[in-house]
Symmetry: C2
Subunit: 162 residues, 2 copies
């Protein structure tokens, strides 16, 4: 893979307002497969935790349902949880997100799935924070690197399904 191709695989992170983070990333797979990788807990477990072991304690994919993941990485164990606000199949998932390390700091994440081509799918994630300080804290936490690791793991999963 050339350097340009590798660069193309990084998520594009922008700050549309002072309390939001927008993340755009394309995947070489049909929309249905990408949707499945985001909504089937067996598949989610293979990429969400940056390639680390991920225990899915709860994943109630419906309005009002709760989710809880525990990542077991070399630097420790981290719990994450939230609740689903809206699920529109093959289009959109709106859910909350919080990390056990900062309990009750709650982000609203909206993931939108767009068909770019028969084997190309764009995922746009918008994260809304209660305050600018929380948003900037997330940016400073190394989120972007972790996200790119997770999406690289998702690339590998999608490639293995071809």
């Amino acid at each position: 893979m050339s350097t340009a191709e590798q660069a193309a695989k990084l998520a594009v992170v922008t700050l549309p307002t002072d309390r939001e983070i927008r993340i755009e990333r394309e995947f070489d797979a049909p929309l249905e497969r990408v949707w499945q990788a985001f909504t089937d807990p067996q598949l989610l477990a293979q990429w969400w935790g940056r390639g680390n072991k991920l225990v899915i304690e709860k994943f109630e994919l419906e309005r009002g349902g709760h989710w809880r993941f525990v990542e077991h990485g070399p630097e420790g164990v981290h719990g994450f949880e939230g609740r689903f606000r809206e699920i529109v199949p093959h289009e959109r998932i709106v859910q909350t997100f919080e990390w056990d390390g900062m309990p009750a700091y709650v982000i609203v994440d909206t993931a939108t799935f767009e068909r770019v081509g028969p084997d190309r799918t764009r995922v746009v994630s918008m994260s809304l924070f209660h305050t600018t300080e929380e948003r900037d804290g997330m940016l400073a936490s190394g989120m972007e690197g972790g996200l790119n690791q997770s999406y690289a793991a998702l690339d590998r999963l999608l490639a293995s399904q071809r």
Copy 2:
């Protein structure tokens, strides 16, 4: 009780910013008793649900702990839940709040307890919403009336302890 005294018993609701609601209310009881009424689930169950039956399914009063209450009122059953961010005994509780009817719409509530006199305590609650629309929806929901009913039930509980 005179009309003036009754009026003095209503919470003072103000809107300090476009995403916040501030609620101030005084109670005729020592700070320690008011704190106890907010933190002992046996006591909370007697006033939090506006005098309706309240089932406390979870109340883990510590940083990162979860809470969940179910109110059984004449107009139906309503679940509420959240998580504790910070607890400073006799001073402050910061926690999230969401109603099952609007899952994943999360409010951050900060309750501050102030000693006004040996038998008078002020409770100031600040609620922070993700959007102005959510804040205004809460105001339009009849929140203020329900809150005053709950605080009247708390007045009765505190009076019964004298």
